[in-house]
Symmetry: C3
Subunit: 118 residues, 3 copies
């Protein structure tokens, strides 16, 4: 079997801890080269990319090949609702912005990625 | 790539807002003709089909091709438990009843639909 | 169409009731021989295998062919964090321990199992 391809869908802030723990366990279990891991954050969870003590863990995982995506719709919505305005340029460089997170989740599954909702 | 096929699984009332927002973003991102969207409600979330200010949004989306399904097992269970009894005939006509929502979720994935749990 | 293959992902204790209800409905809807059902518990939900009045229902379902898996990482983590230490040998015999639940969830999807998060 080829690489274990998976997209983690994180849409609530409280799921980050579980999601990152899952990824650490996965890499430990199968080895860094054996998994193709994407994390898609939408909804309120995107704020953790800017304001969270978990960014260090995310960066460490990104250095092991894990890709972290942020939904632009969600960033805009949180700002419009007065929750928090995050400047895309201010996000850590290992994070990639996608226009619509939901499209990415669907496309990745059509490309053969498993889906996990932590 | 063909249409983006996806089934949204809504089993908690609080997920409706996120689910409908996801669908609006998806249609805006890829265009109405490019997505094949099914929403399956089971558990307590089915009551929103009868008692929710979100029905107008659902109907608007159904006119854009989104299919809304309700699990009959869940409707019966909510009535049996004394929560709320919803007459199937009283549901808006754009909603389709399926005998067991869980079967539908599995079948749709086997037919190539991506799965999203908002 | 062949068997309906599905993996249920249970990572919160509160999801057990919904998950078991889903499985009972599924078996009733399609018949026992028509579904290949795996339940993967990780996170705090693994404790239910040892301390829950739901074990009887699980055992009844296991006799109908449903496979129940427990994540060893989660068992270890709960013990290390002082929550609860569960001896693997003390678990009911119908439960199978897997080293990393997350790997199992991904592999099963790559093997054609649908994913359901109750």
């Amino acid at each position: 079997m080829g690489k274990l391809k998976v997209i983690f869908h994180v849409n609530e802030t409280e799921q980050w801890s579980t999601a990152l723990g899952n990824i650490i366990n996965l890499l430990r279990d199968v080895g860094e080269g054996a998994a193709d891991i994407v994390v898609l954050a939408n909804g309120a969870s995107v704020a953790a990319y800017a304001y969270s003590e978990k960014v260090d863990t995310m960066e460490m995982l990104s250095e092991k090949g894990v890709r972290f995506l942020a939904c632009r719709n969600s960033l805009k919505k949180m700002c419009a609702e007065g929750a928090v305005c995050i400047n895309e340029e201010a996000l850590p460089p290992f994070i990639t912005i996608v226009p619509a997170g939901i499209t990415e989740i669907i496309r990745k599954q059509h490309e053969g990625y498993a889906y996990v909702k932590p």
